[in-house]
Amino acid sequence: MIGRRWWTPWMWMTPALALVSVFLVYPSLDTLRRSLLDERSKAFVGLDNYRFIVENPQPLVADTHQALLTNALWLVVFTGLTVPFGLLLAVLTGRLRYEAASKSAIFIPMAVSFVAASVIWRFMLDFNPDIGTFNAIVTRVGGDPVAWLQDTGLGPVGGIGPLQLNNLMLMLIGVWMWTGFALVVLSAGLKGISSEVIEAARVDGATERQILFRIIIPILRPTIIVVTTTLLIYAMKIFDLVWVTTGGRFGTDVVSTLFFKQAFINRDFGVGAALAFILLAAVVPLMAISVRRFQAEEERA
C-alpha cells in the first residue's frame, strides 16, 4: 500500500515472532545441539546418540526399538481405525434427523482432558470386575478378568513385538477421543457433495457400497488426506495419553514418553534430545504434505 512504511508489517508481527522464537524455534535448535552432545550436554559426541537409538544397547534402561516400533504401530492402528470409522459415521449420521446430536455425543471426548480421560478409562478397564465395566462384561460372559492396561500379551498368542493388548487398548482410547474430529471434518466435506451425483448413481443401479467406494471416497480424497495427515502427526507426537494412563510402562513406551524419561528421569539429555529430534524430523514430511494440499486448495479457489 502506498504510504505504508516498510517497518509497519514487522511491528505487527514482532510479538508473534518473538514468542514463537522463544518457545518453539530456540528450543528446537537447542534440541538439535544437545542431540550432538553427551548426557550432560558438555562434550561433543557427534552421532553417538543417534547410534544409541538405532542399536538399542540398553533395552532395560531405555528400549528405543520398542518405542520406535510402538510409535509405528500407533501410526497404523490409530489412524487406520479412526479415519474409516469417522468416514463411516459421517455417511451414516448424514442420513439421520438427529445428526447434530449424535455428532456432538461422539465429539465430546475431545473436550475432555487426557487426565480426565485416563481416569475414565482406568475406571472402565479396572481389573476388578465390580469396578471395571469391561471386566464386568467379560466375567458375565464367563471369562476371567483381564489386566487390560498391563497385559503385554494378546490372549493365548502372546504379544508380537509392540502388538500387545495394553497398547491396543491405549490406541482404542485414542480412537475414542479422536473419531469425533474425523467425523465432524469428513461430515462437512460430505455436505459439499451434490446429491444429484449420488442420485444419478442410484438410478444407474449402484449399490450403497459401490457409491461409497467409487463416488464418495474419490470426491472426498482431499479432505480424507487432511484428516489422515493430522491424525498421523498426532500419532507421531502422542504423549499425554500414554504418559498419564500407563506412564510408558509395560511396553507401552512411545518415542515421546521415552524422551521424557530420558530427559527428566534418567537425565540423559543427549539421547533424549536425539529422540526428540527424530520425532521432529519424522513429522516434517507429513506437515509438508498437509501444507501443500492446503495451498493447492487455496490456488484452486
Partner: protein
Amino acid sequence: MAGIVFDRVTKAFGDSLAVREFSLEVVDGEFLVLVGPSGCGKSTTLRMLAGLDEITSGTISIGGREVNSVAAKDRDIAMVFQTYALYPHMSVFDNMAFGLKLRGVPRSDIQQRVQQAAALLGIEELLRRKPGQLSGGQRQRVALGRAIVREPAAFLLDEPLSNLDAKLRVQTRAEISRLHQRLGTTFVYVTHDQVEAMTMATRIAVMNEGVLQQVGSPQELYDRPTNVFVAGFIGSPAMNVFEGTVRREGERLVVAGDGLEVEVPPERADSFAPLEGRALTFGMRPEHIHDPAYVPAGIVPALLDADVDITELMGNETFLHLQRGSTALLARVDPRTGARAGSRTSVVMDLTHLRAFDAATGLAVPLEVPATV
C-alpha cells in the same frame, strides 16, 4: 482546481504491461469515462489514480500536486467500487459517516452531511438499516452516498452499474448524470459498456490492451474515430467493417471489397482518387445504409445489391442482415422496406459517411468528403 493529469503512466505486473504510457488531462468538473473491453487496463488506471496500486513509471497529478507516493486517503478522492464494498456490520448511516468520523469531523457536521447526501439519493428511510437488508440498487446508492459525503475533489467510479439488472441500470445512469450536474465535481468513470460511455460522458477515453486509443467527446468518437478499433467499439449496433481497396475501372472509381463492389458517384471521385490502390479497411455504420425507396434527402447514392439473410423488426426501424460475397453487412432501414429474408435486394450506401483505415496500422485515413446538409 482538481484537474487530473496522467503523464506517461505505465503499470507492469511482472513482465506484462497492463497500462502503457497512458497520458491524459482530465479537466476539472468534467465527466470522463474510461471505456474498453475486459483487460484493457481501464480499472488498473483508475486504481493507480486512487492510490490502490503502485505506479511503475510516469506521474499522476491531482490539482497540480504530484501524488505518486501520496497515500490513497490523502488524495482527496472518493471511490465507488463495483461490488459497493459496504461495511456489512455497520448501519447505512455509519457506513456513510465512517470516513468523516475518522477525520475528526464534529458530530453535528456529520449528521448534516449524511442527511443531505441521503436526501439527494433518496435513501433517508434506510439510514438505520444494515447493508444486508438492502436491495442491489439501494446498496449502490449507499456506496454513492459514502463518496458524496466526503466532498472530494474527484469521484472515481469502477463499473458501478454492472451488478444491476438492465432496467435499473438505465434508471441509475440518468441519476448519476443528474448527480454530476448537481455537484459539478470531476467524475472519472470506468466501464466496459460503450452505451454508458456515450450517454453519460462529457469526454470518452477508449483503451485497448493498455494503450489509450482516442480521447474526445462522444460525438467526436462516433463521427471521427481515429482507428479501426474505436470505430468498431463505439456505436451499437457496431460499425460494418470490411477489407478492400479503391480501384479504377475505366472511367469509374470503385470501392471494392471481397465480393462487394460499389461504384463511387462522380461527384465524389476527387475524394476517393488519392486512395487508389491502397490496402484499406472500410467502415460504414448501419444507419448509413438505406432502402432505396426511403433514402433521406441530400444523399448521393451508391447502389449495392445483396442477399438478405435475416430481417429483425424493431418497430421504428428494421435491421437487414445482408450478405454480399463473403462480406456481411448490417443495415438499419425504414420499417416500410420491402426487403424480405431470403430474397435479393438493393440498398443505398451513403458514401459521405464511409470511413477508411489503413489495413496494416488501423489508423484512420483522411477521406476528405465534403459533408452534405
